[in-house]
Symmetry: C2
DNA sequence: CTGCCCATGTAAATGGTTACATGATTGA
DNA sequence: TCAATCATGTAACCATTTACATGGGCAG
């Protein structure tokens, strides 16, 4: 369960509440994992049971009380151990590709539309990352080395999304080319074979 | 739930059993989704309840009986509708990037090791896809157009994994460069700042 | 006075994996 | 005789999402 260790790393930087962890996870810098507040609160509770973190309740007047989580020695040790354990390649679940593989039922126009919508979303995401990588948490890095590591995680997102974008644009070209070649001597044909 | 429609597309090609669907999903051609047999059997049962598929039990002597699933008109309609519905970008859950982001605790050698192990796995996967794309189910495509679409799903995997590979190799270079620049006038230093 | 921020939680459902179970056939 | 293939399933668990719940402070 990687979420546990994603959280633990932040807790190791500073005592922090579940609420603030959620905000960090929503920032695009932590693009490589996401979680709902429900899951974060529950995972933190579980980590406390396992002795990886300690809880300190901070009384507040103008706001609801908050729980600050602090890493323990056991937590620090568990984190270090997990970090060095090789992980399997992530399992791919790519809804668009499921659609593409059965899209022969659609008109070329519709398929191109699917790909184009996808490309637009990729483009938005890319812009977000490239902007974000200039500002924000990267500056809180405690060493040049840590900043490089954080930059690398963003670079990964940029690299992957750029590859997907190129793929989508190229896919559109190939589909159009096929359409032109097969319906070249027919007016507005919708036949597929 | 994309699994339902991934299954439905195959069922629309030919009457097929859960067992054979599992085999298809395990072939690397369907790289974009995976499922255990448990999940496939249960999803098929659910699809039957919803009236998307019909079940025919085939009695066998030398082997256990099997259930052949056939698509219904309702199923065909549901599939077409889902295919044209734009999906959100997949949620990224990238365990290696969680490790990288907290890896300042490790020696450069250990980080490089992580990246290198990852790169090797990517390489294996890439070889698999590029081999597989020549043989196998691609030949069962019912039209030139369908074959192009299936090829595109494989191309996507190849493109993404190539991008990740380049990223990993580049990351190793950057880490080594940083190490050389910061410990240039120290013998075997392990300091990070 | 509307809606967002602060801050945490419970309950229920969905999606997915792992373990356990059966039992005949076939090839090394 | 050992393991794999054929073929399906249940039960329990883990991971994650969605919906529901509370309640004061603060800005437009």
């Amino acid at each position: 369960m990687s979420l546990k260790y994603a959280l633990l790393g932040f807790v190791d930087m500073m005592p922090i509440s579940g609420y603030d962890l959620k905000k960090l996870f929503d920032s695009s810098v932590v693009y490589y994992w996401s979680a709902t507040h429900t899951q974060i609160y529950q995972t933190l509770a579980q980590m406390a049971e396992e002795g990886l973190v300690d809880i300190e309740v901070v009384q507040q007047v103008e706001h609801p009380n908050k729980k600050l989580y602090t890493i323990t020695d056991k937590g620090r040790q568990a984190l270090r151990e997990w970090i060095t354990t090789p992980q399997e390649l992530s399992i791919v679940r790519h809804a668009l590709l499921v659609q593409i593989s059965w899209a022969d039922r659609l008109r070329t126009k519709e398929i191109v539309n699917l790909l184009d919508t996808y490309a637009q979303k990729l483009h938005q995401r890319l812009v977000l990352y490239q902007e974000e990588s200039q500002l924000s948490p990267l500056q809180y890095a405690r060493s040049k080395r840590e900043r490089l590591l954080w930059q690398l995680t963003i670079d990964n997102g940029v690299a992957v999304y750029k590859a997907e974008l190129q793929w989508a644009e190229n896919a559109i070209l190939q589909l159009r080319a096929l359409e032109n070649s097969t319906s070249s001597n027919l007016e507005k044909s919708h036949e597929s074979e």
